[in-house]
């Protein structure tokens, strides 16, 4: 019954508000300058590859009480992690909630490796996430059809359309209704999460989707959720659904 209600409300919402038609979907890279795109597309110039290299060596570094590395259980990431990032966030039976890729990696670090969990946005966690996500580069975003995710995804869409902050804007007002136009001097992209973690030139470093969402929230002068907040995972769940079929670009470069 509850599930049916959610489906109903989801259907009503998408009928009432303009969603971007599939043939008009554009990656954030399409809004960048040719130079920034060239930087992303060449692994010799993409600065995010430095983080990926770090992630590669962490993948086989032994850590924790069991002195185990990621590779000891999962083998080479090129095969075991292929396509994984394109399917996340996924349902985590233990917590009864969806979990994002960085959260899954960290829970593995804590429970399987029995090591100190990595801090959100720490270089180590970003590096491992970027290395795992690189294995899905070029593959289509493929959100799982797991029914247990439906209510969380609906909650994510609700947040997407929720006005908030002193400027009283919702995500959808910019990224669904006004993409392609300018905010100040910067083009408004469609907000697809298919290149994270990214190297953002503005940050002079790597950052996760949550960091980017926090940026936007402080942009509309709202109180941003803390890192790891369930709201962020719900939003990512919806955004991945919204970007279904688009190719993964990780590790992306953004201005």
């Amino acid at each position: 019954m509850r599930a049916a209600l959610f489906v109903l409300s989801l259907g009503a919402a998408s009928a009432a508000l303009a969603e971007i038609p599939a043939d008009q979907r554009k990656s954030g890279a399409d809004f960048m300058s040719a130079q920034t795109r060239a930087m992303q597309n060449d692994d010799a110039t993409n600065p995010a590859m430095l983080s990926v290299l770090d992630g590669e060596s962490r993948w086989s570094a032994k850590a924790g009480a069991g002195a185990k590395s990621c590779a000891d259980c999962h083998g080479p990431a090129e095969t075991s992690m292929k396509g994984v990032a394109a399917r996340y966030p996924a349902f985590d039976a233990e917590s009864g909630r969806p979990i994002d890729l960085a959260g899954r990696i960290n829970s593995c670090v804590e429970t399987r490796q029995q090591a100190q969990p990595l801090k959100p946005e720490s270089p180590g966690l970003l590096a491992l996430t970027a290395y795992v996500a690189l294995q899905s580069r070029g593959m289509p975003v493929a959100p799982p059809s797991d029914e247990r995710l439906a209510s969380f995804r609906a909650r994510g869409e609700e947040l997407w359309r929720q006005r908030f902050g002193q400027l009283n804007f919702s995500c959808a007002q910019c990224h669904d209704d006004n993409w392609g136009r300018k905010l100040g001097s910067a083009p408004i992209p469609q907000a697809h999460p298919n290149a994270y973690p990214i190297y953002r030139l503005d940050w002079q470093g790597m950052g996760s989707l949550q960091r980017r969402l926090r940026n936007c929230m402080s942009g509309v002068r709202a109180n941003a959720y803390p890192y790891g907040a369930p709201e962020f995972v719900d939003l990512e769940l919806y955004l991945m659904q919204r970007a279904a079929g688009m190719p993964m670009e990780t590790p992306g470069v953004r201005p």
Binding site: D43, T45, P47, L50, D54, L201
Partner: protein, 110 residues
């Protein structure tokens, strides 16, 4: 790892013919802290940048430069060299902490 320097990506054609002009591209991970930024207490964060980069081929300098505060984190450098013979390329970065990072690569001329 040396100082704030972590990793370097070095890229050039694996093989070249004698007389070819090849492009060498390097990317180094470094925060390039300018020395002008205050921390959350208002104190200036001390400058920590890569201040010197050099590239040698069989001991001969190919390219060298001094770097200053206005250069982005993770500095990228590209330069060219004429392929004359096979040998060893040495890349050396020095930062404000006095740390030196060195990478060596083999270069083949057919």
């Amino acid at each position: 790892m040396a100082g704030s320097m972590g990793r370097a990506l070095i890229n050039f054609p694996p093989k070249a013919r004698k007389g070819d002009v090849i492009e060498i591209r390097t990317l180094l991970s470094h925060p390039m802290e300018t020395g002008f930024r205050p921390d959350s207490y208002g104190r200036l964060i001390p400058r920590d940048i890569v201040n010197r980069f050099e590239c040698l081929f069989n001991g001969e300098p190919v390219f060298a430069c001094d770097l200053f505060s206005a250069i982005s984190a993770n500095p990228f450098m590209a330069f060219t060299m004429t392929a004359t013979q096979s040998g060893e390329l040495v890349f050396r970065w020095k930062d404000d902490t006095g740390a030196v990072m060195e990478e060596k690569r083999r270069f083949e001329v057919e």
